[in-house]
């Protein structure tokens, strides 16, 4: 009960110091990671459509992967990229790597060093995969390379002339790719790839984005977007399916599956705080109503 000007316990709970909430969230995220809490995942249709497309492409198909994100979203997006890259390499498809974000170029290099060179040492640069790097221009760049890729890319990221790279010989523009994967969570990203490449060029586009961006892209699925991975859940679903079909990948890191544990616990903690806040709100409101009634 409110005692003069002193706020009651319930009023204090309603106006809880945000640092208390921050502390509980920190515990909710760190403890499951420390104790390796994981949950089983089942692939959803929106993710399986892109998985099945990769399965259906024959060996040697041309897959373009665009790294359209920055280090801030690496924890959320990188698991998807690693899983897709592993899948494509296991299917012996040709990988063409590029970036629409300046920060994407470094991430591409790291991913190549960590995934392709370590797990697929038989993959040869220039014949099985190539990194053509970052170019500025956002949707303007996509516009140009839809019709003439070599107008913008005269060398790869190492400065080698594009025409001297064997796997670039059959590539004239984006229409020469069998599928485009775009990973990111902002601008330029999936929407630009769909509007300026996938739709006008009729090229299948699949995407992996942050959980916040995913709802915006549902309108494009399935007619303009082949499939969509949204956040850690999407990554966990793809990783689970990959391990199910290719058991040799089970021993490799699967951060998507690992991070679902903290996500689940953090969600429950947020829900708990919302319940506490509402209980305090209703209790305070009822008490104020009864106090006014008594007067």
């Amino acid at each position: 009960m409110s005692n003069g000007n002193q706020p009651s316990f319930l009023e204090k709970v309603q106006a809880l110091d945000r640092r208390v909430i921050f502390l509980f969230i920190a515990l909710a995220v760190s403890l499951p990671l420390l104790f390796h809490v994981v949950f089983p995942e089942k692939i959803s249709p929106i993710v399986s459509s892109m998985f099945d497309r990769i399965e259906s492409l024959p060996e040697g198909s041309r897959v373009l992967i665009s790294f359209d994100y920055s280090p801030s979203t690496v924890p959320e997006v990188q698991p998807m990229v690693d899983a897709v890259m592993r899948h494509c390499a296991a299917r012996k498809q040709k990988l063409y790597l590029m970036a629409l974000w300046a920060t994407g170029q470094n991430i591409t290099d790291e991913t190549i060093d960590r995934v392709l060179k370590v797990e697929f040492p038989e993959y040869r640069y220039g014949e099985d995969y190539v990194n053509i790097g970052y170019k500025s221009g956002n949707q303007g760049l996509i516009n140009v390379i839809l019709t003439d890729l070599k107008k913008m890319y005269t060398t790869d990221v190492h400065g080698t002339a594009i025409d001297s790279i064997p796997m670039m010989a059959p590539i004239r523009n984006l229409r020469n790719f069998d599928i485009i994967f775009t990973f990111g969570g902002g601008f330029p990203g999936t929407k630009e790839w769909v509007l300026f490449a996938g739709d006008p060029g009729r090229i299948p586009v699949a995407s992996g984005v942050t959980a916040v961006q995913a709802p915006l892209l549902y309108p494009y699925y399935p007619s303009q977007l082949l499939g969509l991975m949204g956040g850690i859940k999407g990554a966990a679903e793809y990783e689970s399916e990959l391990i199910r079909r290719y058991p040799q990948f089970e021993s490799l890191p699967h951060p998507g599956i690992d991070m679902m544990g903290p996500q689940a616990v953090a969600h429950l903690v947020i829900m708990l705080f919302i319940v506490i806040g509402n209980v305090a709100y209703f209790a305070t409101r009822n008490r104020q109503a009864s106090d006014q009634g008594a007067r």
């Binding site: 492409l57 024959p58 920055s70 979203t73 020469n176 069998d178 902002g186 009729r202 915006l216």
Partner: protein, 407 residues
């Protein structure tokens, strides 16, 4: 004699048998999946509405198209072969996945005759369609695939211009109240009374984004009121061009308010293009300078919640406006007032109260009416098909839907 005849018969049978085996072996080598059928009805046309250099090859699916199982012997895709004469030699120009019924060959030269064949590919070769052609690519002067966009664009533009003109002639237009814009004066007044500055964030995109243009335009109106009240304003920007534009806008507002001496270039300063570096700087400004009012008007991404929550923690009144649907929930949760989507673009017209600007808002309503009518028509047609199972409703619905498809 009979022994000789029987030897002839036996040897004929043996050699005949061997010949049959070789022949059927050769036949098998030519069509290893004799059960797989080629694509049907292959045709090729000059790709419509392009700048040339492209031919679209279309076909009906092979009846043995991929059915999702790895075990069945089915078509896994289609290989498109091209030659410059009907007899060949044919070379592959591309591969389409199973389920695809068209392929755009974007490597042609205008004016050259081309001939095509489509192979239904299996894991071991596949049957080939008959040769079709000749067909040539050429550039077009009008993109017929965008004819529907052109027509709708004309209708919308004409309606906007019509309402601008009728507003100029003095016609009164009703515009509904927008709470966030009504609160602008109150928010500026609060900052003036408290003697604390106003923080204005025009988004993190450059001037090529129309949201940033809207944000800088609203800044002009806010700056005019600030100039009259003599309140301090701070505008950290994420892009250099936005910094220059914002300076011009604020300077003009101070001049229009008759206070050119009160203007200082330092009110607008560049921070960094980097998203999180920018929001770290803005948060620092908030925590140190404790503005009484924060405006967030423009394009935002993940940093929106960080800014809005920090603003909330210092007790500032916050008015946000963005056309980024993903960020709207964060602003709605953390800010006092939020301009949702089109309200951001309407804000400049609303705040100016100029008839010709308000007229453009009415023109938008024509577009909304068209959208609502089209959605209702489509929903009714498809629902009637679901309920009555009459095919005509489905056909009508698809025809109507295709009117709005971007090809």
């Amino acid at each position: 004699m009979s022994r000789r005849i029987s030897r002839i018969i036996v040897f004929s049978l043996i050699f005949g048998g061997i010949a049959c085996c070789v022949h059927s072996g050769a036949a098998l080598a030519q069509s290893p999946d004799a059960a797989v059928r080629p694509p049907q009805n292959v045709r090729a046309i000059d790709t419509r509405g392009d700048e040339g250099g492209s031919i679209t090859v279309m076909w009906d699916l092979s009846p043995d198209d991929y059915d999702g199982t790895a075990e069945a012997v089915t078509v896994i895709g289609y290989e498109i072969m091209r030659a410059e004469s009907p007899g060949g030699p044919f070379a592959s120009v591309g591969f389409a996945s199973a389920g695809a019924t068209r392929f755009a060959d974007a490597s042609t030269h205008d004016g050259t005759d081309y001939y095509y064949q489509v192979t239904a590919s299996t894991s071991s070769g596949g049957p080939v369609s008959p040769v079709i052609g000749p067909v040539r690519s050429s550039p077009q002067w009008f993109n017929v695939n965008r004819a529907n966009v052109f027509i709708i664009g004309i209708i919308l533009s004409m309606s906007i211009i019509f309402y601008i003109a009728s507003a100029r002639r003095g016609k009164k237009l009703f515009i509904r109240r927008i709470a966030g814009l009504e609160a602008v004066q109150e928010a500026i007044g609060r900052a003036t009374e408290m003697g604390r500055p106003i923080l204005y964030i025009p988004g993190i995109q450059d001037m090529d984004d129309v949201q940033t243009v809207a944000g800088v335009t609203i800044l002009g109106y806010v700056a005019r009121t600030i100039a009259e009240y003599d309140t301090k304003i701070e505008v950290p920007t994420s892009r250099s061009i936005v910094m220059s534009t914002a300076r011009e806008t604020i300077k003009a507002a101070y001049i229009a308010a008759g206070r050119p001496d009160a203007y200082s270039d330092d009110a607008v300063h560049y921070v960094t293009d980097e998203q999180f570096g920018y929001v770290a700087a803005v948060d620092g400004i908030m925590v140190r300078d404790k503005p009484a009012t924060c405006f967030y008007m423009g394009a935002f991404f993940a940093e929106s919640l960080i800014m809005a929550e920090t603003g909330n923690s210092i007790g500032a009144i916050q008015i946000a406006g963005t056309a980024m649907p993903a960020q709207l929930p964060f602003f709605v949760a953390a800010c006092d007032y939020t301009l949702i989507g089109e309200e951001l673009f309407a804000a400049s017209a609303y705040l100016s109260n100029e008839p010709k600007q308000l007229g453009s808002l009415k023109g938008q309503d024509v577009g909304k009416s068209i959208a609502m009518l089209a959605i209702a028509t489509g929903v009714i047609l498809f629902t009637l098909h679901q309920v009555t199972r009459v095919q005509w409703f489905m056909d009508a619905g698809n025809w109507f839907k295709d009117l709005f498809l971007l090809n």
